[in-house]
């Protein structure tokens, strides 16, 4: 338990200063929400054809945040290293999530310099660009 000590110079009280800042952020988001609502009045989200289990549409897609995963599953060859491709395509994301989950225990040494920020930023950008690319690929295909 390492409580950070703050001197009065480099800190502000939670109330009212910090709460006030947060309040303005909330107001800004609320304005965006209201704009979305007005946009929804002009152009509703809408609804497609009623569900029909007997009639499969041409382009079946999951939600956009599962598109990358779905694209991996679709494009993976049937056999990878002697294991069934579908199984590999599912196990790899599950393992990745598990690694992300226990990441603080894998990378536990305190940061020494700011260089590590840039390394992790690069890592994050690579991961995000990969996911976005897969998502776009899944969207257009």
């Amino acid at each position: 338990m390492s409580e950070i000590e703050h001197t009065p110079e480099d800190s502000i009280p939670f109330f009212p200063d910090h709460v006030k800042t947060e309040f303005f952020v909330v107001l800004g988001i609320l304005a965006i929400v209201v704009i979305i609502g007005i946009a929804g009045l002009i152009k509703p989200v809408g609804i497609g054809d009623p569900a029909d289990p007997l009639n499969t549409p041409l382009h079946v897609k999951p939600e956009w945040y599962f598109l990358a995963l779905y694209q991996i599953l679709k494009k993976i060859p049937p056999m990878v290293l002697g294991i069934e491709g579908k199984v590999v395509g599912v196990v790899i994301p599950v393992v990745l999530v598990a690694i992300i989950f226990i990441w603080p225990f894998l990378d536990h040494k305190p940061d020494k310099s700011k260089r590590i920020y840039w390394i992790r930023l690069a890592l994050a950008i690579v991961a995000i660009v990969t996911i976005i690319a897969l998502t776009i690929w899944g969207e257009v295909s």
Partner: protein, 336 residues
């Protein structure tokens, strides 16, 4: 002319407008006339108003018979459409009455006790504090110093996610009032929300787009924490609860997507549960748990509705509470 300032004049003008409006509203003769489409004669054959424009000869304006007295409860029952006039009357006169009562009480109290007036808030606060001794810990909580670096914009991503969760909760409750989770009625209830419910399409649009925004904000917050190394000791459990919250948000999205019960929702769920079903060892179990059987049916819809409306929100609130309490206890991680 110190006593005549523009501000006072403005206040006086406002008062005049206020009183004028009050007189206008409360003496407006047609205030209680229900539907302008219904002719006056059919309501009360013996009574007509000059300004109602009826063809009946203008006689002396006599009050309506007792049986046809415009009733106040008709406003609540929806038979009388003019709801604003009685409401404005109650608010205006009631507010003025309360001000008058307060003034009398305050004067009498000051005179009787021979001591300066104490506001109601300080009285209530004192009463509570006497019993529960709340002011000291509350002050400590409220005055807790927050580091100045926490005012950078990238620190508010998590807060935005939490706020969007609140928005989702409110709009979700509003949608749940009209939504019917059965395969026969789900589709038409969404159509009803979109076309008939007052502001229904706005509420649904907010729920739809803020759901996507919440996922984006959640990921952005996670990236911020990852890049800045804020997950390191002693904040490992915060990271764990955060990853669980991201997964819960995705489950929210996955279960909510089926609820409109249109072709897109149905087949997205079919495909999505197929992905879950191809996990080795536990795949079939997951598939059967999600679909309640081997196919996506009405049972699936009920299950997803239950998950979306009860289970996942409860879990999210619990983990969010833990997440916030840990932040509160440990403070915001100091960047290098």
């Amino acid at each position: 002319m110190r006593h005549f300032s523009l501000k006072r004049f403005g206040l006086l003008a406002m008062l005049v407008i206020f009183v004028g409006l009050l007189i206008f509203i409360t003496t407006h003769a047609r205030a209680y006339t229900s539907d302008p489409g219904i002719p006056e004669e059919s309501l009360s054959p013996n009574w007509s108003l000059a300004e109602a424009g009826s063809s009946a000869p203008v006689l002396a304006i006599t009050p309506p018979p007792v049986a046809q007295e415009p009733c106040l409860s008709c406003h609540i029952l929806g038979q009388n459409k003019g709801l604003w006039t009685p409401l404005a009357r109650w608010v205006l006169f009631g507010g003025l009455g309360l001000v008058f009562v307060f003034g009398v009480f305050r004067s009498a109290n000051t005179w009787v006790t021979r001591s300066p007036w104490r506001s109601f808030t300080s009285r209530v606060a004192g009463w509570v504090d006497e019993r529960y001794n709340i002011s000291e810990p509350l002050t400590k909580i409220l005055k807790k110093p927050v580091p100045k670096y926490a005012l950078h914009w990238w620190y508010c991503l998590g807060g935005i996610t939490a706020f969007l969760f609140v928005v989702q909760g409110i709009t979700g409750i509003l949608l749940a009032f009209y939504y019917k989770p059965t395969p026969e009625a789900a589709y038409s209830s969404i159509q009803y929300i979109e076309t008939q419910v007052y502001l229904g399409s706005a509420i649904r649009a907010i729920h739809h787009w803020c759901a996507n925004g919440m996922i984006v904000m959640c990921v952005a917050h996670m990236l911020r924490v990852f890049i800045m190394g804020a997950y390191k000791a002693p904040r490992e459990l915060n990271w764990l609860s955060g990853v669980l919250l991201l997964i819960l948000t995705l489950v929210f999205g996955f279960t909510g997507y089926l609820l409109p019960w249109d072709q897109r929702a149905f087949w997205a769920t079919t495909v999505g549960s197929e992905i879950a079903g191809s996990i080795p060892a536990i795949g079939n179990l997951t598939l059967v748990f999600l679909r309640v059987g081997w196919n996506v049916t009405g049972e699936t819809l009920s299950r997803f509705y239950g998950l979306h409306v009860i289970i996942v929100p409860l879990a999210t609130v619990a983990f969010m509470g833990a997440h916030f309490l840990m932040i509160r206890r440990q403070g915001i991680a100091k960047p290098l």
